[in-house]
Symmetry: C7
Subunit: 79 residues, 7 copies
C-alpha cells in the first residue's frame, strides 16, 4: 500500500507550503507542526486574499478549514 | 459482499484521477496516497476552475472537501 | 426489527441506481461498492446537472455528499 | 425515563411517513428500515418540491439530511 | 457541579416546549422522547414559519437541526 | 498546564452570560447547566436579534450553535 | 517528528493572540485556556468586525468556529 497522506505531510515539515482555506484565503508559510486532524502550524506566514497580502507570523490553523496544501518544491522533486 | 470503496480507491494508486471538490474546483493528478478519511495526495496535479487552469505540483487534499473522484482509464477497463 | 439501511443497500449492488447529491448534481450508474459511511462506487456512471449530462465512467463518491439514492427497478419489485 | 426517539421510530416501520429534508424537499413513503444515524429506507416514495411531485420508488436516505419526520396516522393515535 | 443539560431536558418530558430549528422553522409540541444527541419526539406538534402554521401531529426531530428549546412554563417556575 | 475551557465555564454557573450564536442571535441569561459538548441551559433568558428582544425563560441550547460566550462580570474580576 | 499543534498552542498561554472566526469576526485577547478541540478562553478580549470594535472581557470560544490563531510576538521570536 502507498504511504498515508499524513506521513507525506510530515516530510514537508520545514518546507514552504501554500494552503487554500474554505473561506478562499490562501496562506503561505514554513510548515512546523501538524497532527492527524490536519491541524497545522506555519512559521513566517503570509495571508493572501483577493484584496491584499499581509504578514501574520506564526499561525495555528484548524484542520477543518483546509481544502488543499501544496508544496511547489516537493512537487519539483517528485515529478 | 462487494469490495469496499477504499479498497477500490487503492487500486487507483499511480493512475490519473479527477476530483471534484465542494467549492467546485476540479483537480487532476496522479493518485499517490490515501487514507480511510479519503484524505488524498496527488502528484503532478492541475487545478481547474471556471476561470483558469494552473499547475500545483504535489497536493494534499483533506477528504471532507471531496465530492467525487473518477478515473477515466479505470472506467474504460471495467466497462 | 426491520433490516438496516446498509443491508438493503448491499442488495442493490450490481443494479442501476440514481444518486442525488447535496450540490444538486445527479449521478446514475451501476452500484459496485459501498461502506458504512455510505461511501459508494458506481461503474459506467453519468452525471446530470441542470445544464448538461456527461459520462464519468467509474466514480468514487464520498458518503457525506449523498442526499438520496433510489433504484427504480428495486422499487418496482418491492411495490 | 421516556422511550428513546429511535425506539419510537421503529414503531413507525410499515407506516406512511413524511420527511422534510435540509434542502427543503419533502419525501413521503412507507418506512421500511432505519438505523441509529437516522439513515432511512422508504418504499413507494414520492418526492415533492415547490415545483413538482415525482415518484421515486424505493429510496435510501442519509440521516444527516433529515430535519423532521412526521407520521399523520401515528399522531392521530397518540393525540 | 450543576445538572447536565440532558438531565434538565428529561424533566421537561410531558411539557409543551418550543423549538427553534436551523432553517428558522419553529415547532411547538409536547416533549415525549429525547436522547443524548438531542434527537427529540414531539406529540401534537405545530410548525410555524414566517408564512404559516400547520399541524404535524407526532414529529421526530434530528438533534443536529435544533438551535434552542424553551419551555415557557418551566421558566415561570424557575424564575 | 492552564485550566481547560469547560472547567472555566463551570465557574460561570449562576452568573449572567451572553451567548453569540451562529445564526447571529444573541442570548443573555443565567448559566445553570452545561456539558462537554457546550450544550448549555440558561434561566431567565432574553433573545436579541437585529430587530427585537423577547423573553424566552428557560432555554436549552445545542452546543454546536454557540460561537462565543462572554461574562462581563467575570471579565471585570479577572482583568 | 515535529511538535503537535496543541503543544505549540499551550506555549502561547498568557500571550496576546488574534483569532479569525468563520463568521469573519476577529478576537484579540490573552490566551488563558484551551483543549484538544481548540476550545479557547481569552481574557481581556476585544472583538473587531468590519463595522466596529467592542470590549468583551472574558470570552469562551467553541473551537469549531476558529479558522486561524496567530501570535505576533511569538512569530517575532521564532522568525
Amino acid at each position: 500500500m502507498a504511504d498515508a497522506p499524513t506521513l507525506l505531510l510530515e516530510r514537508l515539515v520545514k518546507q514552504r507550503v501554500t494552503l487554500l482555506l474554505k473561506d478562499a484565503r490562501q496562506l503561505t508559510g514554513t510548515l512546523v507542526a501538524l497532527d492527524e486532524h490536519m491541524n497545522l502550524v506555519l512559521d513566517d506566514a503570509d495571508e493572501t486574499t483577493a484584496e491584499m497580502t499581509r504578514h501574520l507570523g506564526k499561525v495555528v490553523l484548524r484542520g477543518s478549514n483546509v481544502v488543499t496544501l501544496h508544496a511547489p518544491q516537493a512537487a519539483a522533486k517528485s515529478a
